[in-house]
């Protein structure tokens, strides 16, 4: 069952990250027809977006469920908006992608070598993923932040220090599995392909202009794999070692965000000159023409309207969520508050066996004593009161003025126990005639 859920999650994230990656391409004008690059960079974007949503919800003291729902809403709204605005780009992209595939297949030189290298690279990636899922490593140093995911899963609250853990906590709540199962069994299938994809995007970018660029990229991927397998240099680096801490925020930053930034650094900011038989150049010029011709004002207005709607919906959801949370907390604390508002201790002298006095400890502060007993119980009563933290009595209710009822009080007063007010209730036992 867990594998079925994992598979569906993988498909969902693949689609979401593809659209996000495509939007990133359009926004940054860095064109590529490589689906792996688009998906892996898109995945980085949507995870960063989650971190932003989580941070906002953390400041607003909203729950982790709300953070996840907000994130999904933002992603869906933005991606639908993008699809709506740029609906023409997708068919063109796939047309160009097919053209490039056909061109690559037509290039017969070194085809066997490429297939062999691809098989090796895929095998290495599959082995590493299987290793992480199927084997456990006794490295307590690597599991430090997992407790935040469990805490968030159990309490529904956001632990602001661990945004990645909050992502797992939310996914765990969504698919109803323990956060550790989520992290060790489901997350590798979602995250490791992203990290490998980012490495592939860098390898492809670095060798794209060279002869036998694909072979070189594949060899570079093999080097990446070997580097991962021998990545344990020191204990200080355990938190950024991919195969030990693939789930951590530090790994996401080192192996996810930084390679993504490197990819953009490798692409110069200047516009490329259109070249003949160059699919990327073709898509670039087509997009520019289309952007120039298209009446984008209306779609921009529509976009603004969508964003305003999304913000209003998110705000309404937040207010509702907060009300529900407050109600829940009030209900949970009601019993505790009732229990803790008053505490009553019974004073029973050992030789007597019958209760002689009651000490009432008020939650707001202050002590009330009911009864007391005779003079001989005075010392015991004083010890009893001081043992229970009573350093001053707000009100003392005596049953009578005679030594049998007020003797213990007088001993306590003599020993220096401050008493604000003493009441004589004059209660007598009722004896039916």
């Amino acid at each position: 069952m867990i594998w079925l859920v994992t598979f569906f999650l993988f498909l969902l994230f693949a689609v979401l990250s593809f659209i996000a990656g495509f939007a990133l391409r359009v926004l940054t004008k860095r064109w590529t027809v490589d689906i792996i690059t688009i998906c892996s960079q898109g995945m980085v974007c949507i995870l960063l977006l989650f971190m932003v949503c989580e941070r906002i919800c953390s400041l607003l003291r909203a729950s982790i469920r709300f953070a996840g729902a907000l994130w999904l809403a933002v992603i869906f709204v933005l991606e639908l908006l993008f699809i709506f605005m740029d609906s023409r780009r997708f068919p063109r992209f796939f047309r160009l992608w097919r053209q490039e595939r056909i061109r690559a297949q037509a290039d017969g030189s070194g085809k066997r070598m490429r297939v062999l290298l691809k098989a090796c690279v895929l095998l290495m990636m599959a082995l590493q993923t299987a290793l992480v899922i199927g084997f456990f490593y006794d490295q307590p140093a690597a599991i430090g932040s997992l407790k935040d995911a469990t805490l968030s899963y159990d309490s529904g609250r956001i632990v602001a220090a661990s945004p990645m853990m909050m992502f797992y906590a939310w996914l765990s709540l969504l698919i109803r599995v323990h956060p550790l199962t989520m992290i060790y069994t489901v997350a590798p299938v979602l995250l490791l392909p992203m990290y490998f994809g980012l490495e592939w995007s860098l390898a492809k970018k670095l060798f794209q202009k060279e002869e036998k660029g694909e072979e070189k990229s594949l060899i570079m991927m093999l080097f990446f794999s070997f580097l991962h397998l021998f990545a344990y240099q020191s204990q200080a680096f355990i938190g950024i070692t991919l195969l030990f801490s693939f789930f951590s925020g530090a790994v996401f930053f080192v192996h996810g965000v930084l390679p993504c930034l490197l990819w953009f650094c490798l692409e110069p900011g200047k516009r490329r000159e259109p070249q003949e038989n160059d699919a990327r150049a073709e898509i670039s010029t087509e997009e520019e023409e289309w952007d120039m011709k298209h009446k984008i004002i209306n779609t921009r207005n529509l976009a603004i309207a969508f964003i305003v709607l999304a913000v209003i919906c998110a705000g309404m959801g937040f207010v509702l969520n907060r009300k529900i949370n407050n109600l829940y907390e009030a209900a949970v604390n009601l019993q505790n508050e009732l229990n803790e508002s008053l505490k009553v201790y019974e004073f029973v002298p050992e030789e007597d066996g019958t209760p002689q006095a009651y000490l009432v400890k008020r939650n707001q502060g202050g002590f009330i004593v009911l009864g007391g007993g005779s003079e001989k119980e005075g010392e015991l009563l004083y010890d009893f009161l001081t043992e229970h933290g009573c350093d001053a009595v707000t009100a003392w209710y005596l049953n009578g003025e005679d030594p049998e009822e007020a003797g213990a009080y007088e001993i306590c007063a003599e020993r220096g126990l401050p008493v604000d007010t003493v009441y004589n209730t004059g209660i007598e036992e009722y004896r039916p005639k």
């Binding site: 307590p140 599995v177 323990h178 550790l180 860098l202 990545a231 240099q233």
Partner: protein
């Protein structure tokens, strides 16, 4: 002074081996610089990326430099010679990678996972037993050996262990009481009086002892902890006076 030296020694121990990656990275940058310089001479400087950008990702620099090195011999000489050189270079590069860090897939680190939680089954049984015993309690305070203690909080937020995995593995970073217990559990003959004293002082309800690993002179039951259950090699003790108080 002694503490300062101990801290320095612990820091060095933690960082030991980190330099190997830096050396590999420095070598890779040199290779990249060499190619960048060659291309500069060939009037096509933009073909090679600027070496400084690789500061963003050390491993990318290393993998890129090795690949460049491997294919640099392609156009010089005859085919068998090229192949021989490429093989030699490949071996050199792989040797450098092997020497750069410890092998992750080793018995030292990896073992087949018995469950999807990636926690030893014995630990899970202990934790489940504690959760069952502490049903209704919001917090289950527990003192456990260092190998088990870090898994409590990831398993359930209801657990409150005396210590988790110390920062950088250095027990000196722990609070005093936790450090005392940690040091006791670092020997095979822990002084249970010291451990139980801390337990009573800090109001810790549960004490877990691995009988397969520790051979204390006196059992915890001698010091107001009551043996509740045994799970595998682990003995589960409950603070007697707390239990009475709780009831």
């Amino acid at each position: 002074m002694k503490e300062l030296l101990e801290t320095a020694a612990a820091g060095i121990e933690t960082l030991r081996g980190a330099g190997r990656l830096l050396i590999l990275f420095a070598a890779a940058v040199l290779v990249i610089c060499f190619y960048a310089w060659n291309h500069k001479d060939n009037d096509c400087p933009e073909k090679e990326p600027h070496p400084a950008v690789f500061l963003l990702s050390f491993r990318t620099a290393i993998a890129y430099a090795f690949t460049k090195l491997l294919f640099s011999e392609q156009k010089k000489g005859k085919m068998p010679r090229i192949l021989f050189r490429q093989l030699l270079l490949m071996l050199l590069c792989l040797t450098a990678v092997f020497l750069s860090g410890k092998r992750i897939i080793s018995e030292e680190f990896y073992a087949p996972a018995a469950n999807t939680l990636h926690i030893r089954t014995e630990y899970i049984m202990v934790m489940d037993r504690l959760l069952a015993e502490g049903a209704g309690q919001n917090v289950i305070s527990v003192i456990a050996p260092p190998e088990l203690s870090p898994y409590f909080k990831p398993y359930s937020s209801r657990f409150m262990p005396l210590y988790e995995y110390p920062k950088n593995g250095d027990p000196e970073t722990l609070p005093e009481e936790a450090r005392i217990v940690y040091h006791q559990f670092s020997t095979s003959v822990p002084d249970m009086k010291v451990i139980t004293d801390v337990g009573h002082r800090m109001d810790y309800d549960w004490l877990i002892v691995d009988t397969g690993r520790y051979y204390p002179e006196f059992k915890a039951s001698e010091f107001d902890y009551e043996l509740v259950d045994t799970v595998g090699d682990y003995e589960l003790y409950y603070a007697g006076d707390h239990r009475e108080g709780g009831e």
